[in-house]
Symmetry: C3
Subunit: 470 residues, 3 copies
Amino acid sequence: MTEALALHPDRLFPAEERTRGIARDLYDSVRDLPIVSPHGHTDPVWFANNDPFANAAELLLTPDHYLLRMLYSQGVPLDRLGVATVDGKTASDPREAWRCFAEHYYLFRGTPSRLWLDWIFAEIFGLEIRLSAETADLYFDRIDAALQTAEFRPRALFDRFNIEVLATTESPLDTLEHHRAIRESGWDGRVITAYRPDPVVDPDFPGFSDNLRRFGEMTGEDVSNFGDYLRAHEKRRAAFREAGATSTDHGHPTPFTADLSRPEAESLYSTILGGDFSAQDAELFRGQMLTEMARMSLDDGMVMQIHPGAHRSHNPWLLQEYGRDKGADIPIPTEYVRNLKALLDRFGNEARLTIILFTLDETTYSRELAPLAGHYPALRLGPPWWFHDSPEGMQRFREQATETAGFYNTAGFVDDTRAFLSIPARHDVARRMDCAFLTRLVAEHRLDEDEAFEVARQLAYDFVKQAYAL
Amino acid sequence: MTEALALHPDRLFPAEERTRGIARDLYDSVRDLPIVSPHGHTDPVWFANNDPFANAAELLLTPDHYLLRMLYSQGVPLDRLGVATVDGKTASDPREAWRCFAEHYYLFRGTPSRLWLDWIFAEIFGLEIRLSAETADLYFDRIDAALQTAEFRPRALFDRFNIEVLATTESPLDTLEHHRAIRESGWDGRVITAYRPDPVVDPDFPGFSDNLRRFGEMTGEDVSNFGDYLRAHEKRRAAFREAGATSTDHGHPTPFTADLSRPEAESLYSTILGGDFSAQDAELFRGQMLTEMARMSLDDGMVMQIHPGAHRSHNPWLLQEYGRDKGADIPIPTEYVRNLKALLDRFGNEARLTIILFTLDETTYSRELAPLAGHYPALRLGPPWWFHDSPEGMQRFREQATETAGFYNTAGFVDDTRAFLSIPARHDVARRMDCAFLTRLVAEHRLDEDEAFEVARQLAYDFVKQAYAL
Amino acid sequence: MTEALALHPDRLFPAEERTRGIARDLYDSVRDLPIVSPHGHTDPVWFANNDPFANAAELLLTPDHYLLRMLYSQGVPLDRLGVATVDGKTASDPREAWRCFAEHYYLFRGTPSRLWLDWIFAEIFGLEIRLSAETADLYFDRIDAALQTAEFRPRALFDRFNIEVLATTESPLDTLEHHRAIRESGWDGRVITAYRPDPVVDPDFPGFSDNLRRFGEMTGEDVSNFGDYLRAHEKRRAAFREAGATSTDHGHPTPFTADLSRPEAESLYSTILGGDFSAQDAELFRGQMLTEMARMSLDDGMVMQIHPGAHRSHNPWLLQEYGRDKGADIPIPTEYVRNLKALLDRFGNEARLTIILFTLDETTYSRELAPLAGHYPALRLGPPWWFHDSPEGMQRFREQATETAGFYNTAGFVDDTRAFLSIPARHDVARRMDCAFLTRLVAEHRLDEDEAFEVARQLAYDFVKQAYAL
């Protein structure tokens, strides 16, 4: 039995008719605004080469850790989903993987993945029946056929999605050649990079010593001393700025920051370089580097993003067999008030600096993040992230952060995704949920209607451009 | 002045008429499904002997820690409620206790106890006016009269409640004689046991050494060494399996787990046996035993339940005067990501194992539990427990867990109660609240209606049978 | 462009028409009840002298840390807002400060400050257009003119606000002269004090040694020994009782309590007096003094309030330049179950004692506070405080605390404000939100309508009088 796939025009709006009318009007006013995607993990090579995407499974399933996670949790082996092991073996071919996914599509009921995928199926590929075991091949073939056509090439989709600017994220060790290729291609899509220095900042990062060595080679700096190491960062930041970057990104286990004296920092750096460092040394170095990065941001104007609080690769067997980013990262309790103090003591009062805070620990919205962002000029709140980039997650964020931080200390929507096709779907969910929140304020006479329209536009478009200096 | 007692057929459904219609339809489809109660604390002797229950106070008030807690918090001495002191004195007779309860019934406004009790009064005893000081005697007499009749004997109520299976919880030291009596009685009600080894696993359990000694005697094992101690568990687990058990239950202070080498575990066990152990030793032993229990579960197929995070008997004066389980257990912050790691590193990838996690710390729903259950094949989420087994608690659970764990990593409803008469009321609240949640998804076009009906049935009936292997 | 300012009569009520009708009826029944304000920070000199208030900026902007916080977070220097530096310089005159505020009034969209201020503007000053850059002068002039008139003097406003009793908060070192002046003035407004001993109890309080010295002088006690130090407290408590006090208030960093033996406490006091104490000593002393205060409360009947969990003056630069209470206090995670244990072990079972607990950590509502208050006779829950004194904050409190603590272990509404003109607005928000919560219970048939009316009145008026012994 097959069921219709139809996106309801009023999805995610409150059910009550009069209130829904307000939501509709607000949403109509922002629906067609361009997409600004200031932070994410799409691959610049797509836009540099503009090659066709491979097939449904490799495009939509295998790289999506939200999907792998859920399917794996219900006993589906990653082999069946076409995920390669670290030694490169892939047990399932793409069509088989897709069929397995389709059989289990019911698992995503009530999750944001379902909303995003249904949008992709209906809006991008024009599918009109629901994905299921019965329709798996139909989907696979229809998507396959579409991907062969010019309209489904990366640049064509970028234009069709009405993307004004899209940021990717690169390591300091990246040559940025794809971004150069994009700029030199004559195509007018704006794809920029962002500076994510974890591989050369986090002593626990895989391959840290080798990374440092290459960092020195790329920059011509003698990274065996702290001063030159910092200069190497400055040089790469300048190169990233040339490739359009307006932001840096820091994925630390905690938001701990430090502000050591120069001799202390130099000595710590030596310890780290020596390789015989404790977990505490590593944490201290990461914390010191956040403060150094803030200092550099004051000079070069780059916005800082801090994404803390994930226990990466919680499942050692999975890491060993299939590698990172397969859905085994788990949030941990995160503390901001004491952890950020060193950095804020130094730079928190700088209105020229923008640090955007993210969290995987929702308890911090009302307790820590909104009070901090509602006071320090240097702070802004990023939108709900990762597990919380979902209708309920967005509602909780607005309900818990707005009364203390206001709307104006928030940074607009960030999709943070590697799933390129889902970008419009994610922005659409965010716009709908923000309009639904504003609708409630209007319906309960907590905000005037003219103000709600202004804020709706700011949440959908203006704030993100301001916060990310785009 | 007396007021009517009338259960509204649409209770707990959203107020808006069109939406309420969806809720009604969903609920109608699950209302009459049999009750599966896979975990609780009813007394098997009730069903073995089928004697009449005593009276309203001894049946409904004195054993209910939810009621004692609230009344005590408002200055009502436990003596007045007919609660015996540890040396056996009871100050108030049942009718007096009931009157005192009735006078204070208004205290339960807005609490789940009120919902459960009103259901019991109206549906089981046919009462049509609200409980109050004025109606206390009427209630007492009406209930008394009913309890003398055959239709109010335990087995008759069991049948009337449409219970398909009911699990009680026993210590390894229990002879299981009542379960044997039930099976041999010819009555066809399915009452099974569950294995709760805390008395011989938790070194801080009252009477631990004596318990161990009896554990050895019952099993014929020399529990002075770790290997035979584990074998004693295996024997009792086998006996429990014969008495129908499909699950074990672990009520530890934290979900800490350990995976020691065999010599380390043996050495720790010796330390514990010696009696001169630290709090840390006790925690380590409990943690090690969770991993041992998981190993045994892989062999015998028993589902593990972990119920962590209660500070038991927080009030020492009350404990001394009246004993345990009088409403003085208080939740504490609970951490799962690091605590469960040893067990998950060992067995988390086993799809044949089911570990059902419960919590008293709601902050872990979206931060830890849903991400863990949304990844590890061995994990499922238990429903809201204890303080959170309530309409708002259930709503928060679905709102905070579903988007990351989905519906399919949850384990259906568990009443976990010793209040036998409240079982249908509790399942009714759960079914209504789950339907209300699904209703919102349907009304906001986040889930198709055909899917909502399927999920409603799964939440009410299928999931619990699957999760508990019933 | 100017927009109308109009308070909607149904503001904060649910939008759906039938449900809104219930809310309207409930609210109508409590709207005109007198205001009981049992705890706050208004200045008694206002009522003693009855001088006119200065101007819009000095009355409504400069002392309001909610406003300063938000404006500062968006880069507005405190100088521009007329805030004096610690050395007394004020860069901006009141009208300029007001204009700056008006320009940025949009920042408060969606915050409770906006609700309170609009109420003040519309209800007290009769303004009918929204505050903005264009209307800044009109507002300033209109408010200025009003403040010159007799109807806007403090006592006249007190009467107009229908305040039955208003408590201020004083240090033990306060002479209470203004309260004496009020009592001797012949004016019949009831303005009472409350005992806030932090300056002589918290070793980390600025000027602690000097404070202790003056404490000894005022009481004629030799505060160099613990026994006389306690006696000094007893004397000041008695003096405060004469000035109407029915409560004490304790603003500690944590709710840690201790119950040392007398020799231990004496020894600790000596260490503290010696000045060479650790952070742990200071915490232990504060904890011990909470227990001592509880003991005194059992004697003199004063209700204890505990307000823990703020990291005060998180921004050292701001503290140095502008001093305390400028919006840089940030909540931290707070633990109650273990921290309160020493005090509760000693006095938790005393029904004659009332300890009202507040929190800035909402995660404790359902996990710790409701279970504690739902058990211990000595405990009551204060309403949402500070950052959480807001519509969403109030809704979360009722949703998360009621099912476990009931309504009857809560203490009514406390405005806790120094912004005198906002008092009726804050009580109005609380009454509306409580009615909205009750409305949902009624609409979903979780509470009968007659009970909702009774509870509405209790939440608005009765509970606070009972809890604070007024």
